[in-house]
Symmetry: C2
């Protein structure tokens, strides 16, 4: 007799599991239950619909050749039954049935299963803020949200908008609305945007660019209330730092696993409040699997489970779930937590552990901030990228990377991702053979340079101070020398506005070092601090004992500069 496979959830993990099951088992009866009316949509594309870059919303759930992935498509092409507008109300585990309701007719019925897949996704968090139910206070989770938002924007009803929450979606929407001519303010409770991905100095580089693009970012700011007009439409957002006029607000303060159905069915829930699964994606009921945004993932860098709702993972889960259901036992090894986003022309990517997390975990770590163009320096289209690496001091094992900038960060973050699966060390990375031609990278890839700096630090050759620590020293009025070893022409274009700064170009340092006191701390820097590092070595040759360089150079300085 043919098997009955039922999948609850029709967006990413669910359809992937169903499609793979069909290819594995020609005879199975496969049913997808979806409470909405849109299947297999690319939720990550919603901001690009908002910006107008994606013209028609339907593109998000069409195949690459323009066929809509609707019920008919699933039936004709994949012989999969889709029940859309159908709510799974209850899982009857003892009888192996799902109790559902047709949301159009309110008719209730049961669907029996041999194996059940829960791909029920996430639920957007909704903070208990007064006025959150006003008109034009949105969340962006479903295509219908995007449609409404773009509608009122294109109708000219929105001059100002507030994004509550500086996460991925919030920032992508900030760009999208700005492109639509809206003045956008992002409000974030803590001191940085993209807090899970970035340490504060990297976050500040991003915020600097957002400011250039006319987006106001208010960190360490709390939303107190949404204020409406007499028609119940949003007119302002009240924060602990003042009121901001806004005709549209987006709440994007993260999502949480959708566990209600599983919990009511008595399935185990994990510490991260996801549906608990083992490495085969089996829940505590061996006939029920779960994957996608409703579970958490084992993180190989953290050596613990974390909630990482990512679109690429949902697809991988779906495929492995199908293999396991079919009997081709396959383990999911876990993740490394790779994220990326584009905010205007600034790319931001992250993988593994941040410095903040390494600190929290009590790890003895070393960090590097390496800035340089992403192509051969003479190649005209090169653009700067900033690589921060976090590594274990004892072993040089890479723990995480944050890569931001106008250049190609996607390549380098994926390189680190693969490395993390294998426990790559800085010194291994530094010896690897990567694709070099001037239009693609410098002869020594930026990542190799960063890895070499890390190894130099571990070996005690390179001694660096982070931009954040330099700023702290300046704020504390410490007595030290900031040695700018750039040439005079470079200094004219950008300089640090502090009295601590002294100028000696690197080429003159072997003669002019005598002008420097040996009893003061010296922190050398240049544009990217490769010359800063050379300066450290030269001064050490000359008997100086308290010389360091500023990691990342002036180009990585996230505070105000003289320009």
């Amino acid at each position: 007799m043919s098997k009955k496979y039922v999948v609850i959830g029709g967006v990413a993990c669910g359809p992937k599991a169903a499609a793979r099951l069909r290819r594995l088992d020609a005879d199975a009866e496969i049913t997808i239950i979806e409470k909405g009316d849109i299947l297999s949509y690319g939720g990550c594309g919603l901001p690009y619909y908002l910006s107008g870059e994606v013209e028609d919303l339907e593109e998000l759930w069409s195949t690459p050749v323009g066929v809509q992935r609707d019920e008919k498509f699933f039936k004709n092409v994949k012989n999969i039954n889709v029940l859309s507008n159908t709510l799974a109300e209850k899982i009857n585990r003892s009888q192996k049935k799902v109790e559902v309701m047709d949301l159009k007719t309110n008719e209730k019925f049961e669907i029996p299963y041999d194996k059940l897949v829960l791909a029920v996704g996430a639920v957007p968090n909704k903070p208990p803020i007064k006025g959150i139910d006003l008109n034009n206070v949105f969340e962006l989770y479903h295509p219908k949200d995007a449609k409404k938002m773009r509608g009122i924007v294109e109708a000219g009803k929105v001059k100002e908008a507030v994004i509550v929450g500086g996460g991925l979606i919030g920032l992508e929407v900030a760009e999208a609305l700005t492109k639509q001519g809206v003045k956008v303010t992002v409000i974030e409770m803590i001191d940085k945007v993209l807090p899970k991905m970035l340490d504060v100095e990297m976050s500040m580089l991003l915020m600097k660019d957002m400011k250039k693009n006319n987006v106001d970012v208010l960190t360490s700011t709390k939303v107190l209330e949404f204020e409406g007009d007499s028609d119940g439409n949003l007119k302002a957002v009240v924060t602990d730092k003042g009121k901001i006029d806004a005709q549209l607000a987006l709440i994007s303060v993260g999502v949480r696993p959708n566990i209600q159905l599983a919990q009511e069915a008595g399935l185990e829930i994990s510490d991260n409040r996801g549906i608990k699964v083992n490495e085969y994606f089996e829940t505590s009921d061996p006939d029920i699997y779960a994957g996608g945004d409703c579970i958490d993932n084992y993180n190989l860098v953290y050596n613990q489970s974390l909630y990482t709702p990512l679109g690429d993972l949902a697809n991988i889960h779906g495929r492995i779930i199908a293999n396991n259901i079919h009997g081709n036992k396959e383990k999911f090894p876990g993740t490394v937590g790779t994220s990326i986003c584009k905010v205007f022309d600034f790319n931001v990517a992250s993988v593994g552990m941040t410095e903040e997390m390494a600190k929290k975990k009590g790890i003895d770590f070393v960090t590097v901030l390496a800035a340089s163009p992403d192509k051969a320096h003479f190649y005209p289209t090169g653009k700067p990228i900033f690589i921060k690496l976090i590594g274990e001091r004892q072993t040089g094992k890479i723990l995480g990377a944050q890569i931001v900038g106008y250049g190609d960060v996607a390549k380098r973050i994926n390189m680190v991702s693969i490395g993390l699966y294998y426990g790559i060390k800085a010194k291994d990375l530094a010896k690897m053979d990567f694709a070099y031609a001037p239009p693609f990278s410098p002869a020594m890839d930026n990542l190799i340079v960063a890895a070499n700096i890390m190894q130099n630090k571990i070996d005690g050759m390179a001694k660096a101070v982070s931009v954040m620590d330099v700023k702290k020293k300046l704020d504390n009025k410490e007595d030290f020398i900031l040695l700018d070893v750039r040439g005079p022409e470079e200094v004219k274009t950008m300089s640090l506005p502090y009295e601590n700064v002294k100028y000696i170009p690197l080429g003159a340092l072997r003669k002019k070092y005598v002008e420097l006191p040996k009893d003061k701390e010296i922190i050398a820097f240049c544009k990217i601090s490769l010359r800063g590092y050379e300066a450290q070595r030269i001064l050490e040759e000359k008997g100086f004992e308290n010389v360091k360089f500023m990691d990342g150079g002036i180009i990585s300085w996230p505070f105000e500069c003289n320009m």
Copy 2:
């Protein structure tokens, strides 16, 4: 007493070794001997100077902030003595001296060393063709070659040019000269361009694009003679397929290791005719090291040494040589042979083993050709890329990748490169967490899709025929069905001009399969053959036993199409 370190060769490996030695040892006397007058130049940038993209030749040997890396620079910044225009004539190993001649004064003298580094690079091959010494028959190895070439091109003396050799430099120059308004013909002896990097079908995709850009590529063609005019200037190139008018020719038929000095000094030479070194870059004389293009590299995929002259490796060698000389023993693990180039807007990259090589080595392998856009399909700037993977059939271990196309190939090739260092298998790659956002990749990265197809082939689920084998069947007039499962609108834009083709859109196949004969071989395809694969599975469901799909789909068809 301070150590005396002497480096012969001032381009890539040599200056890197010298600079690192200085940072490791403040007291050492470090000397670079360079026969030319230009140091540390980016030889890979010469084609971009030719094209005009790099305006001034000096940019190729300037630092990113515009300081020329000349003798003064090395002295002032790095305290390294550079003897340029100085030829190393002989190594006196017993007395540990290099005998040199100042090429400007013809003065001879000796330089003593404690440790010597040979970074003497490669020598361009010069085939014994009649007329090769005519004016305007060039090689492109040194900046002065580029200067001369650009000079006569900008003087309007070149209408037509011939490139002899379809390697990396040849193709980059083909683009450069075309951009300068020159009609270019590339002549290659064997049946494909970039023969070390690409299998023939991938090479054909590139050649298709070059043709679009008005470059003629003549493969399987031999140059017989360069014909000159009465002034001794090139006027035509005679081949075994006819004569081509040309006022400029470039000979780019590869390079070989420069071993003369080493050989005369009695140092061991490797099977690949490079200077023989161990994994510490020590030659057969423990006081002499060698690195860069004058040695061969151990290839971790081939498990043998190969000659792979690559700029990124030269830099890595130089650094490791310095570490070893200083006593920080460090092994070079070997390479995976990663190459990349851009030819017009078409990017071409390769790593590890080609199918051709796997065949020669008698490996039981499986290949995949996966084509798709490099970004989420709905994201407007996505461009197609073509990924060919070669893997070991038994284990699924990846042996090599060729990635070409208009989209982001650099990212994916480097991902494979790192994987190869760790012996990555298709099924491991397919489960990895990469950075996904619509502007950067599809939710399932192209590489994951390719890896899944490979695993499906290994598992016997996916049965494919390569485009080359399909063409062979067509040429042999075999009786089989080419089942095009695309929709009618797609078929209009591009179709295969053969009577074997039958059209049934995938969405209709579950009904119309009855129109197909069960006793004939069926090869299904669509645009990229994901639907071709679905068709294979559907027909198998229906009891067909001889169904396959065409790897890569019609978009990967390297022969003529109806357009």
